[in-house]
Amino acid sequence: MDEPMVEMLGRIGIYAPLFLGAIGSILGCAAGGQAACGAMLDVEGGYGRLIGVSALPSSQTIYGIVVMLSMNGSFQIQAAPGMFAIGTLCGLALLFSGWFQGKCCASAIHATKSKPEVFGLSVAPAAIVEGFAVFAFVFALILAGGLPSAAGGS
């Protein structure tokens, strides 16, 4: 494969965690936010925590930024294929976790609205999904550390 092509793949790999993570956050926060707005029409108080729950999928963008910065140190052409693989796959995990976490948040908002005492438990599924995003994030950092010359790797 041509060197410019390989370099392009490497650059895509660097930007992918942020790009895909942000899309996941957009989809997730939109779902949660819409549910929160609907629930506010039906409840008399506790609006803050509804909006708070709907913002949970924002963290995927933050994880994406951290992974991107960790791989964006000194770019080496021999690390480009590895960067593409790690960045794209981590980004996909962040995208889906953000999207589906938003659905969990919407369900939590819907449940809390009718039964406020289940607020803590209803957020648990969203927290579990967040856990998987954290796994994808942490192991992307560890693997990126092993790439030649990226993030201080060998």
């Binding site: 939109a30 779902a31 949660g32 549910a35 609907g38 039906d42 659905k103 908002i109 009718s114």
Partner: protein, 219 residues
């Protein structure tokens, strides 16, 4: 990709059973919330509402009119869930009509073109048209009719509709189907609550008395 998060989250939870407490949302508020839907969805919801309005009318229509309405609805309705809902409701109407005719010693009425109609005509002389296994509510409904308990018979009918549509609803969350099923189940709640006119009148008088006693209204 159309999303229904806002609308579904704005609707209060329906009770577990249709006879369990007051209606959680008034017709006017429900109409206002449903206005969030886009034009195409509103048209489909209108079809559902029109059907239920037609379904509530007194039973003074001819069989031919009912058959014509069924034919028109089958031709008009495009949404699969709404079609299923109407089909299910027609089957139940047909069974109730057939049981009433059978009990009065009348011949089978002219049914809409449904597979169940053929079965009923074939088993006209048998108790519950040999449909006890398929429609488990049928023996209980027949028993209530035998006991001259129309309200109990209606309760069995509504219980079946409510449970059936609640089971369908379990498959959907934040989708147009869940909106349609919410409206369908709200219709059952509304119909059941409308039957208890005496209780409603008493409640209204109690509320008026409360307001007058607490000086909430200046007469």
């Amino acid at each position: 990709m159309q999303s229904y998060y806002t609308l579904m989250a704005s609707l209060p939870q329906l009770p577990r059973e249709f006879d369990d407490g007051p209606i959680p949302i008034s017709a006017a508020t429900l109409r206002h919330r449903v206005s969030m839907l886009d034009h195409h969805d509103r048209q489909t919801v209108q079809q559902v509402s029109d059907f239920f309005r037609w379904d509530r009318q007194p039973r003074d229509r001819s069989d031919a009119e009912i058959r014509a309405t069924h034919r028109r609805l089958v031709a008009e309705i495009r949404h699969p869930l709404v079609a299923q809902l109407v089909h299910h409701r027609f089957e139940m109407r047909m069974l109730v009509a057939a049981l009433r005719c059978q009990r009065s010693g009348l011949p089978p009425p002219e049914f809409p073109e449904l597979p169940l109609a053929v079965w009923i005509q074939r088993h006209w002389d048998e108790p519950c048209f040999r449909l006890n296994d398929r429609f488990r509510w049928l023996p209980r409904f027949c028993q209530a009719i035998e006991d001259h308990q129309p309200r109990r018979a209606q309760w069995h009918l509504f219980t079946e509709l409510w449970n059936h549509w609640s089971r369908w609803n379990d498959q959907y969350t934040f989708s147009f189907e869940s909106v349609v099923l919410y409206l369908a189940r709200w219709e059952i709640l509304h119909r059941w609550a409308s039957q208890n006119e005496q209780c409603g009148r008493q409640r209204f008088h109690d509320l008026v008395d409360d307001i007058l006693q607490t000086g909430g209204v200046n007469c």
